[in-house]
């Protein structure tokens, strides 16, 4: 079975989302949403992509392309509207497809309510971490999202959406810098999560890393271990070595290595600590043959199944 665990589809346009937004927020969404027009043929295009890639199933990721951070009231309305739109536009039209819950804020009450609401439906398999929110993953402000996702049995997908805009040395200025900026953002989030102990403190949490290339990962994991060994006195409460944290709680997606062939990606993933010690030879989840048991391990009974219109 071939499954893409983070298949990105174009986010909703203002026109598509308007009926789902209160009057108060329609104009605001038009102003901050970068997508102006809906694609001509959404579901046809999705089917074509599935066929071309030889995919049996997919977990869709769709998010508005936003040009700025959002106030809480708008974020609440936007998540409600976007997740409803995803169900109506894609998930309710074919069996087997699953979706990724979109949240646009880390405000606890909003996140908890939206994840719980979506988890009551059969459509969603994971939660997307709202990168670009101003807080790295390990910050305590993000804890409600991780706790709620774990409580609902949903993995958290972390990608680099927005990471290409700003780096630790200012705004990205050229196109060539984008993939490296995304990888930089992901490294910062993973480092933060590991050194703040988010992963061991929520044993049921599963973190899925997607999108920005994973070639950097092996070096980063060694670097985190070395840092922990050398400077661990700063964080005595972190007793699980970083490489073990990543082995236990982090899943890497094949899609994270754009352009690399499957064998290369498999080799990269096998060099990661999680794979070295895992009972499964790899923990890969996308764009390749996936053992259904591995999918069930990741998603439980929310795992995507072969898509049928």
């Amino acid at each position: 079975m071939r499954v893409d665990c983070a298949l990105t589809v174009p986010g909703p346009s203002a026109e598509e989302l308007a009926p789902r937004l209160p009057d108060r927020w329609r104009g605001v969404f038009s102003a901050v949403n970068d997508r102006r027009d809906p694609p001509a043929a959404r579901t046809d295009d999705l089917q074509r992509r599935l066929d071309e890639a030889g995919l049996d199933g997919a977990v869709l990721v769709a998010a508005p392309s936003l040009s700025r951070r959002l106030e809480h009231g708008f974020a609440e309305a936007l998540a409600l509207a976007t997740n409803g739109w995803l169900i109506e536009t894609y998930l309710d039209r074919a069996t087997g497809l699953r979706g990724t819950i979109f949240v646009a804020t880390i405000e606890a009450s909003i996140v908890e309510a939206e994840i719980a609401r979506c988890a009551r439906t059969p459509f969603f398999a994971q939660v997307r971490f709202p990168t670009g929110g101003g807080y790295l993953a390990g910050h305590h402000a993000n804890r409600p999202l991780f706790v709620t996702a774990a409580r609902q049995g949903l993995p958290v997908l972390i990608d680099s959406h927005g990471g290409e805009r700003l780096t630790g040395v200012g705004p990205v200025a050229t196109t060539l810098e984008i993939p490296i900026a995304r990888a930089h953002a992901l490294q910062a989030h993973l480092t933060s999560a590991v050194f703040h102990g988010i992963l061991p403190s929520i044993p049921a949490l599963r973190l899925i890393v997607a999108q920005p290339g994973i070639q950097w990962a092996a070096d980063m994991v060694d670097r985190l271990d070395r840092t922990w060994n050398l400077l661990g006195a700063e964080i005595p409460e972190i007793t699980v070595p970083p490489s073990r944290q990543i082995a236990e709680w982090v899943w890497w997606l094949d899609e994270a290595a754009p352009g690399a062939d499957s064998a290369t990606v498999g080799e990269i993933i096998r060099t990661l600590p999680g794979s070295r010690g895992a009972t499964s030879p790899t923990r890969r989840g996308a764009w390749d043959s996936v053992d259904p048991a591995l999918l069930r391990d990741l998603y439980g009974d929310r795992a995507p199944t072969p898509v049928a219109a």
Binding site: Q187, A188, L230
Partner: protein, 351 residues
């Protein structure tokens, strides 16, 4: 033949050694009366933003050893032909008054020339400049580059904008004008967060994350085609690891190949530019010595590495141990030959 017994080389060039300025008053003889009065009356204690917080083991023992030329030479130079490049990490970039920062940079360089370069002919040094003010930095490079003991310009890796930005052209122009590499070192105090996605709040995040900043900086240099603008420019990345260089080159090559020509402005692949224009300090390797040696051999990076003890800083491993078992040719390249190629002024017998 085991490299430990190889006759090829026992001469070492240590490209990253850190003398320390014990207190700001040390610089007073090199500051004008105006700045001495300014600093005295304002109780200025020197730049306080440090990338090596007091008490953290990576900073090592900052004692008299790093303030006295003879003791530092005894610690890092093992033979009469060994050499060491002194990189004084005085955080002038953290001083917000540009005139003060510039005056401090000048004073540091004069102190280095007077106190260190004249004390031991085996010492070389990097020129300290305020990266926040490139035109002032350029003037300072021109002022002191006549002293052949200065072999490099020193910048922190953390900056307000990427190093590819034309803002930094005056620094690169001056470096090229004097045939000096630009060292880019762990640390910096630009005033912005380590990540565009929020502030880190632990030092371990900063320490582990500096390598990712270096990766972004190289992508900025390549993306802005800085090496096309300055074909003679050379940059040395220090104290941020190097095992990420191979993956970075692969990722940038892939991105460049997939781009329309107007986005990928350089005519060469990024990996070709990086191999030609950058070198990397050996320390820290962020892995066991066996892993580091394997990667030097398998990734074809031996030509890009320079021996660095990073004294007095500590990273949990001894870089001299890495060289053992590498094989004589690779060991010789890393501990001396690469540096001789990279720093033309190392060969100056008389300064």
């Amino acid at each position: 033949m085991d490299s430990a017994t190889s006759p090829i080389t026992r001469r070492v060039v240590d490209c990253d050694v850190h003398p320390a300025i014990p207190r700001v008053e040390t610089l007073f003889p090199y500051l004008s009366a105006h700045w001495v009065e300014y600093m005295t009356q304002s109780a200025f204690r020197g730049p306080v933003d440090t990338s090596y917080p007091k008490g953290y083991p990576n900073g090592g023992s900052v004692d008299a050893t790093v303030s006295e030329p003879a003791s530092l030479a005894g610690a890092v130079l093992r033979g009469p032909d060994d050499q060491a490049i002194l990189n004084c990490l005085y955080a002038v970039d953290s001083v917000h008054n540009p005139d003060t920062a510039h005056a401090l940079a000048r004073a540091v360089n004069d102190w280095v020339a007077d106190r260190w370069l004249s004390a031991d002919a085996r010492f070389r040094a990097s020129i300290v400049v305020n990266v926040q003010q490139p035109s002032m930095a350029s003037a300072e490079i021109d002022r002191v580059a006549g002293n052949r003991g200065f072999v490099q310009v020193l910048l922190p890796v953390r900056t307000r904008v990427g190093l590819g930005d034309p803002l930094f052209n005056p620094i690169y122009e001056a470096a090229v004008r004097h045939n000096l590499p630009v060292g880019v070192h762990f640390g910096g105090a630009p005033g912005n967060a380590m990540s565009g996605d929020g502030w880190d709040d632990l030092y371990v995040e900063e320490y582990a994350g500096m390598a990712a900043i270096a990766q972004v900086q190289i992508s900025s240099l390549v993306g802005h085609d800085v090496f096309g603008r300055f074909p003679a420019l050379r940059l040395t990345f220090l104290e941020m690891g190097w095992r990420w260089v191979g993956p970075l080159m692969g990722e940038l090559d892939r991105a460049a190949r997939g781009m329309h020509r107007r986005f990928a402005r350089g005519t060469e692949l990024p990996s070709t530019m990086i191999r030609a224009h950058t070198r990397f300090g050996l320390t820290p390797g962020y892995a066991s010595n066996d892993v580091v040696r394997d990667e030097i051999a398998s990734a074809g990076l031996a030509d890009l590495l320079l021996f660095t003890s990073d004294f007095p800083h500590v990273h949990g491993s001894d870089p001299t141990e890495v060289l053992k078992g590498l094989g004589p040719a690779r060991a010789h390249a890393i501990e001396a030959a690469n540096a001789w190629d990279w720093y033309p002024r190392l060969g100056d017998g008389e300064r």
